[in-house]
């Protein structure tokens, strides 16, 4: 029963997220799912706690739900930002030659598109001095640098 409750809750979160993402108001897709997923997650925990008390079933149901939510976030953020994912989506409509791929995935154009997306999400801003970091972008950069040091990624433009 706890497994069924988790799967039903995740399905509900998916469809609610789909509905919320179609509202005319602007908003970050990931944040929207955090809100929707959290509300449904809390409801699931409450239902499981009332049914099973503090028990393995409560933990199992909650973790199954959390895993499915994280997997969904991973997949749609991959679809948003990954060039490989975009390539797969285009190839699903039909084959492409190497030349067509080179033309479509022109590096200069992709950089400009990424800059536009990062301006839209508030990580960077366009000023008279060129493009600069926002406070939010600064915090993200600090976090990424911490991760790079932990994982010992050495490749860089520097």
């Amino acid at each position: 029963m706890w497994l069924i409750a988790s799967i039903i809750s995740f399905s509900l979160a998916l469809f609610l997220h789909a509905a919320v993402c179609r509202l005319p108001r602007p908003g970050n897709t990931v944040v929207r799912f955090f809100i929707v997923g959290s509300v449904i997650g809390c409801a699931l925990i409450l239902v499981l706690a009332l049914s099973y008390g503090f028990s393995p079933q409560l933990a199992a149901g909650s973790l199954v739900y959390a895993f499915l939510c994280e997997l969904y976030i991973f997949l749609f953020t991959l679809a948003i930002s990954s060039v490989s994912a975009n390539l797969l989506l285009n190839l699903s409509y039909g084959g492409m030659t190497q030349q067509q791929i080179e033309h479509k995935y022109n590096s200069s154009l992709m950089v400009t598109q990424r800059i536009d997306r990062m301006i839209a999400t508030g990580l960077i801003q366009e000023t008279t001095q060129g493009i600069t970091l926002t406070a939010r972008g600064s915090r993200l950069f600090g976090f990424l640098e911490g991760l790079r040091q932990f994982f010992r990624h050495t490749a860089s433009l520097d």
């Binding site: 789909a18 897709t29 393995p56 973790l63 060039v83 493009i131 600069t132 972008g137 950069f141 010992r152």
Partner: protein
């Protein structure tokens, strides 16, 4: 056989990922081979398989609803840990976004209308490896000079399309 065996499994749910992280931080990340995606993924995959086998074996030995639920807790706790780890690992690799943040932090280095050549080079470097990776994973194949998706690639593409539909994504990549 063992009363409250699920308590032991709960402890395992926390210990197994913690142990993996400690081993990675102390030993694995210092080895050059673990700077690549495939070995990192395999280390998590093998850890998850071992953890799952142990948990499920224990659960089926003491076959109760509680022990099965606890085994599932262990398996999915490791799943969440591995997925989070791999996301953070790939997020911190060289990428357009990270390099844009670097240049934006150096005032005057980045203008929207004229991205620096070094940034465009990121794209070239990633492009060179991308098709090779997709080919080696049997996601694409060549038919003459045309690149197509394999059946495995098509399943992946359809999954991404479904996720993009739910999230109402109009622009990807």
């Amino acid at each position: 056989m063992i009363g409250k065996s699920w308590i032991l499994l709960f402890i395992a749910a926390a210990l197994f990922p913690a142990l993996h992280l400690i081993v990675y931080a102390a030993i694995l990340r210092k080895l050059p081979i673990f700077s690549r995606e495939k070995p990192i993924f395999l280390s998590h995959f093998s850890s998850a398989c071992l953890c799952s086998a142990a948990a499920l074996g224990f659960a089926f030995y003491d076959l109760t609803g509680d022990s099965i639920a606890a085994a599932v807790t262990v398996v999915f706790a490791h799943g969440i840990y591995s997925l989070s780890f791999l996301e953070l690992w790939s997020l911190s690799q060289i990428s357009y976004s990270r390099e844009i943040l670097v240049l934006a932090g150096q005032k005057g280095q980045l203008k929207r209308s004229a991205p620096p050549a070094a940034l465009v080079q990121v794209g070239h470097a990633k492009k060179a490896g991308r098709l090779d990776s997709l080919l080696s994973l049997n996601i694409i194949n060549y038919q003459g000079d045309t690149i197509n998706l394999t059946p495995k690639g098509m399943i992946l593409a359809r999954t991404l399309q479904l996720m993009a539909w739910f999230a109402n994504l109009r622009q990807t990549g």
